[in-house]
Subunit: 105 residues, 2 copies
């Protein structure tokens, strides 16, 4: 993953849990190094519309997802490669993606 | 994968080889049921620009890829689920993707 110009600090487990508590549907991997979520839509157009919104946010944050799409499903994985784990940027992007998917305001 | 309204016929190996001969960089899986290619770009913006062009073609063809993106790399897999293999639609989309990537005119 790319990172912001400002070096991001790897979050401790307690900070990760706190951030996750504010999100719905995101899973933490066993090593606490990434979060993942599968988004489901009604059509390819809706799925790709979501991806387009998310891509614009990702580029603005200079922090990009790993993602897989087939038809109406988008599987997303976020982490901060340079920090060797999760940083605040991942949670910022996660929230923006939930918003892009219309799941939060 | 989605398919066109017209039922697509599964291609025989000889027809697949003939179609593949007209493409560059696409690999056939062992069971001859899908073709794959990894596209590499200079940036996320270029990669997602490619995906956007390809998405519009896919929607028009009503035939959609399986694809994975991380930063400047896009991994694509094409097949026609309903035909249980490869059809002309897959090669039509493959050519459109090569075009979207600026690799052919």
């Amino acid at each position: 993953m790319e990172h912001d110009d400002m070096k991001q600090e790897k979050l401790e487990r307690s900070a990760i849990d706190s951030q996750l508590a504010g999100l719905a549907g995101w899973s933490l991997d066993d090593g606490w190094t990434s979060i993942s979520k599968t988004f489901k839509f009604a059509s390819f157009v809706e799925a790709f519309g979501f991806m387009t919104k998310a891509a614009l946010v990702a580029e603005k944050l200079n922090h990009h997802p790993e993602w897989f799409n087939v038809y109406s499903r988008v599987e997303v994985k976020l982490n901060t490669h340079d920090a060797g784990g999760l940083t605040e940027l991942d949670f910022k992007l996660a929230k923006a993606m939930d918003k892009a998917a219309g799941q939060i305001d």
